[in-house]
């Protein structure tokens, strides 16, 4: 068995048992979108560092799980966002938001596309 096919076999056997986790993960998308929008508003209005931390933590969690559950694009988008936020750690929350805003939009679009 080649490494690739071994990996595929493991992934396939895992797929069945992962289905409930995948469904649970997807069921959070709607509330996540609302939470991200609310945090975005809070950071924009009050420059809240706590809101930015919360936003970063939520992105981190999605980045960690999405790829493993087969949401490759969402996972990659979340990782890009997480990387940008880490690189901008020294900046003011409002400036961070301004710089990641379009990426955040793309990420939220990807979550929204999975709602249907």
């Amino acid at each position: 068995m080649t490494p690739k096919s071994a990996n595929e076999a493991l992934a396939t056997s895992a797929d069945v048992s992962m289905a409930p986790v995948r469904a649970l993960f997807a069921s959070r998308f709607e509330s996540e979108i609302l939470a991200f929008e609310s945090l975005r508003q809070e950071i924009g209005q009050s420059q809240s560092a706590a809101a930015l931390r919360e936003l970063a933590l939520r992105i981190h969690k999605i980045a960690g799980v999405a790829g493993t559950l087969g949401y490759t694009e969402i996972g990659a988008s979340a990782m890009r966002l997480e990387k940008s936020i880490t690189e901008l750690a020294e900046r003011e929350p409002g400036e961070v938001l301004a710089r990641i805003d379009s990426r955040l939009d793309t990420f939220l679009d990807l979550l929204e596309a999975e709602l249907d």
């Binding site: 990996n7 895992a14 933590l57 980045a63 799980v65 790829g67 997480e82």
Partner: protein, 316 residues
């Protein structure tokens, strides 16, 4: 294996538990925070064989958790696998320094997950054998060291000192670009055989830990990690490729060590005598070449760095 998995995200814990179950690991306890994990370890009737800690958690993060667990009796050498994302490289280094054994990057690759858990299983089996051997030796009060002269060992209380297999795992898990930023240097203790011959296992572990501390403190802040390989050879992973001045470094080591003279005398051990090897840049190489780099570094140290280092050509 009895596994404790810690993460503040219940979905991730569920995912992890199921992945472990798929590979036959069914004895998994989960905790949602560092505090909950410490409680589970304290109240466990049987020791855990493997810990899986997320790095980024609110309140107590994974690094603090490693530090606390390593301070708990019976958990000094239990394998700890950190779970991280690609953006948390700095955290991983910190975790290794306080005693983590390996790390897994999210999202998980099924084959890699399987291989790394298998490696932790082997590490745990080795630890169990060592504990059993030490228990037997302790009962018979045999004074000689239990670890053979030519085998690796570690002193878990030394910050930055890792089991040799863990150090190799760390290097092989580095990305190609990250490898470019590190180099390897070996230090050989010329009279280690004499130290070994006069030691019990306890004094030998103490001496290895003291030597590692001396080397670490002399190379700060550039030393990332250090391991004892056996035969008197220590391998150091250096964070930058800039070369140490060998004479200056040897002077620093001897200065650091001079304050420990009484410690060696009280244990009737000779003071260690050091030979430094050349720093070998890692370059871009495949995993199979790590042993070759380490062997070259050790050979250079045994020669006392008297020859120019061979320029290693790392083939794919």
């Amino acid at each position: 294996m009895r596994i404790l998995a810690v993460d503040d995200d219940p979905i991730f814990l569920e995912l992890l538990t199921r992945m472990l179950f798929n590979y036959g690991e069914t004895d998994v306890v989960v905790a949602g925070s560092g505090a909950e994990a410490l409680g589970a370890i304290k109240s466990a009737a049987n020791r855990f064989d493997l810990f899986l800690f997320d790095i980024l958690m609110p309140e107590m993060d994974g690094i603090e958790l490693v530090r606390k667990v390593r301070g708990m009796p019976g958990n000094e050498s239990t394998p700890i696998m950190m779970i991280t994302t690609a953006t948390q490289r700095d955290y991983v280094d910190k975790a290794f320094r306080v005693g983590a054994s390996d790390y897994l990057t999210k999202p998980f690759d099924a084959l890699e997950f399987h291989a790394r858990i298998g490696m932790m299983k082997r590490l745990n089996a080795e630890n169990s054998k060592r504990r059993e051997l030490l228990a037997v030796i302790g009962k018979s009060q045999t004074p000689a060291p239990t670890v053979p002269f030519d085998e690796p060992m570690t002193a878990s209380s030394v910050d930055g000192m890792l089991d040799y297999s863990v150090l190799c795992g760390y290097i092989s898990a580095l990305g190609r670009i990250e490898r470019l930023g590190v180099s390897v240097m070996a230090v050989s203790v010329e009279n280690m055989a004499s130290i070994y011959a006069r030691s019990t296992q306890k004094t030998l572990t103490g001496a290895v830990g003291t030597i590692a501390t001396v080397l670490r403190d002399s190379m700060r802040p550039r030393l990332a990690m250090i391991s004892y390989v056996g035969n008197g050879d220590f391998v150091c992973v250096i964070k930058y490729r800039t070369q140490f001045d060998q004479d200056e470094l040897l002077t620093s080591i001897n200065l650091e060590q001079s304050g420990l003279r009484d410690e060696f005398i009280s244990k009737r051990l000779p003071m260690p005598v050091y030979r430094l090897g050349h720093q070998i840049s890692m370059g871009i190489f495949t995993n199979r070449d790590i042993a070759h780099v380490v062997a070259s570094a050790i050979a250079s140290a045994r020669r006392g760095g008297s020859e120019q280092p061979a320029k290693l050509r790392m083939s794919a």
